[in-house]
Amino acid sequence: MPDRELLIRMRGVVKRFGDHTVLDQLDLDVPANEKLALIGPSGSGKSTILRVLMTLEAIDAGIVEIQGERDLAKVRSHVGMVFQQFNLFPHMTVLRNVTEAPIHVLKEDAAQARARAMDLLRMVGLEDRAEARPAQLSGGQQQRVAIARALAMRPRIMLFDEVTSALDPELVGEVLGVMRRLASEGNMTMLIVTHQMDFAREIADRIVFLHEGRILEHGPPSRILDAPEHERTRRFVKALRDR
């Protein structure tokens, strides 16, 4: 591992839902600026990792640190998240979806926040839909707004939770394009839960394969996808490829 700042550190993390253990003594380190893809069968705990980092779930045991801070609420503003179902605010315009948090949480100047929001909307290719309502947009457009909305908070870490799973196939590309551009800018740490193996290969520095709440293996995309050590990983990758 290169000598970079360790941004996320998880040690012995346990998360249970009832008597079902979703994260089972999980250890994970993420250095700054890494593009990390999390793959694995459903229920393997990949989304739960993101939700724990976003403080949407409390853990039952273990340690989670972001920038060395264990009280994740304190560093929450450094973390942005994009959801599978977009979760845009339906009662606000696209522009207000993006400016709402900077203005009311970061207390940014409204005009400044709007200008920056327009920049972000331009980046995701939606500056002409700023006054539209979420319901007037396609799924792919909504997801791009959701990305702009998260970026408006200037996070260091972006969490992408199966962001293309709810999209029609022809809309997947536009969202991946935005993520690709974001990754190429370099100074963003990205954790991406995905089933798009080609995209993971292209964008990720490292792929983590999760199985039953543990990391079964991890490494550069070429090794995990082409020459996995474990039979389970091989089967999972093959199944997705054959689909």
Partner: protein, 221 residues
């Protein structure tokens, strides 16, 4: 038409009815939101308190509540004049039913909206005011409108605790003139007219709200 000579005293009663109904409605709606939102908080004590309040006021009728406050409460040292007692009881009554309306509307806002707000760093209070309430509000309007009509109907009860509202004046007028059919028909029509105004007012409010959030905004749910 001989009806016109009946009108002046009835209009006097109408003024009393309105001056009971309006403050009771205002306080009642505020209470409904306060109590309805309190049931969504994490404080167990607050939730139980509200639950008890709602159960008591929905479990008895407004008349029983009014008589208890007006006749029984003074015996434990709390003396309210008829007007205050009437407004208090009708507001509490409306608030109890309204609390359930607000609670239902808040619960109908998807939980993922709260998660998205949290991911953007919104505090719980900010989430409530800027994300949850604006989305819950439209769904509360029609049932709250119905509750206001129930409130209007319940104002007639204040005639039984000496307030000279529309119903009270109708009874006085009947005793004076014995023109029973005319008087009570007229009074019923007057109440109906106010109820229609309330319905129309709520409709206007609904349309304004829908317009404010864009014509396609509603499809977003």
């Amino acid at each position: 038409m001989a009806l016109f000579d009946l009108l002046p005293p009835l209009v006097g009663g109408l003024v009393v009815t309105v001056s009971v109904a309006v403050p009771a409605a205002a306080i009642g709606v505020l209470l409904a939101f306060a109590a309805g939102l309190a049931r969504a908080t994490s404080s167990l004590m607050l939730r139980s308190l509200v639950r008890g309040y709602v159960a008591v006021f929905r479990g008895t009728s407004a008349l029983v509540q009014l008589f208890w406050v007006y006749f029984a409460l003074p015996l434990v040292g709390v003396e309210l004049d008829a007007m205050t007692a009437a407004i208090t009881v009708l507001a509490l009554n409306t608030g109890a039913y309204g609390a359930e309306v607000v609670r239902g509307a808040v619960e109908a806002v998807p939980r993922t909206q709260g998660e998205a707000a949290r991911a953007l760093g919104f505090s719980p209070r900010l989430t409530l005011w800027r994300i949850v309430l604006p989305q819950a509000l439209p769904a509360t309007l029609p049932p709250l409108g119905n509750l206001l009509i129930e409130l209007l109907k319940n104002t007639a009860l204040v005639s039984l605790v000496t307030l000279s509202d529309l119903t009270f004046q109708a009874r006085v007028l009947r005793d004076d003139t014995l023109r029973t059919g005319e008087i009570f028909s007229l009074v019923l029509v007057m109440y109906f007219a106010i109820a229609l105004c309330i319905t129309a007012g709520v409709r206007v409010l609904e349309r304004r709200l829908a317009a404010a959030r864009g014509s396609h905004g509603r499809a977003g749910f």
